[in-house]
């Protein structure tokens, strides 16, 4: 499956590159440069996070994770995960590292989905640092309010489908 995904993605890169090249060589060059710069910027961050989350998972106390966040923790686990997601500060490295470490050390998939959904939608730190300065506050709070149930719905769907 990973080969099919790679193939699809690179076909898309090729198609977009062709369109850009057709519109002008500068556009093609800029696209390649911007993409490569972004990749170089992200590489060390992702490497530290991915390799780090394996070690963090290994030292996390499994005996504590399983009852509170494990597949059998049910709604309580989802609630704890959602609260944890909302209160996690920092950028994507932090949120994804914690989520991956929890999954590796025995947390259930619906609980981890609830965590990352809550963290992505309404991590308090990001709302205050990023969204409020750039958007009308009433829209920000409206969005945060209607997002409150979403991690629970995502976790419920994950439980119903029993996947991943």
């Amino acid at each position: 499956m990973t080969l099919a995904i790679n193939l699809m993605l690179w076909l898309l890169v090729g198609a977009l590159g062709l369109i850009a090249g057709y519109r002008g060589r500068v556009l093609l060059k800029n696209g390649l440069r911007d993409g490569a710069m972004e990749f170089i910027h992200l590489l060390p961050r992702i490497a530290i996070g991915v390799v780090g989350s394996g070690f963090i998972a290994e030292v996390l106390p499994r005996a504590l994770i399983a009852p509170w966040l494990g597949p059998k923790s049910g709604l309580t686990g989802v609630l704890i995960a959602t609260l944890g997601g909302a209160l996690t500060p920092g950028g994507p490295v932090v949120g994804f590292s914690i989520g991956a470490a929890a999954l590796k050390s025995g947390a259930g998939a619906p609980q981890v989905i609830a965590y990352s959904t809550a963290w992505a939608l309404y991590a308090v730190h990001r709302l205050v640092m990023w969204e409020v300065p750039l958007m009308p506050p009433r829209v920000v709070w409206l969005r945060a309010a209607v997002s409150v149930p979403l991690p629970f719905i995502a976790a419920a769907l994950a439980m119903l489908l029993a996947k991943p």
């Binding site: 993605l9 996070g49 009308p136």
Partner: protein, 182 residues
Amino acid sequence: MTEPAPQRHRRRAFDWSTAAIAALAFSAGATVYWRDGPARFLTIFESDLLLFGDMLPKVLAGCLIGAFVTLLLPRELVARWVGHESGFTGLLIAALFGFILPGGPITIYPVAGAFLAMGADAGAIVAFITSWTLVGYTRALVWELPFFGSHFVIWRIVEALPLPILAGVLARIAARAVFARR
């Protein structure tokens, strides 16, 4: 709104989030090494490095797709499109553009602000931002895949598909209730 959004932002090579995770990872790695021995340390290191290496071509593809879409799809045009649509179609289009548009919070919130200025309602904005955070492909490709692997990420996205529209509908109901009381 008349100022075009800057194409690229000066970014610091160092950030506190990465430093914190690096410190945590280093102490966890040292703990594993002393507690469980070098063999266990190497096993974990190797398996995570393999996952990371396997995902690198996808991360690079994600970065390139994001860069090309940013250059090829003028945000002005998107804003006009989303702003003029209303009803359920408006929510669908906003969610679709949330999926398509790449970028981080610095670039995406101003775009959402431009939608407002072009006449989009709160429901469309909420559908757009929810779709961008939960379903957006750049974030999934670049960040989520290396951490969780493709199986987990694909299912997480499938389970998130209805959420942007749902959030948009909820936002419309909530906005209407608030305005009705005034």
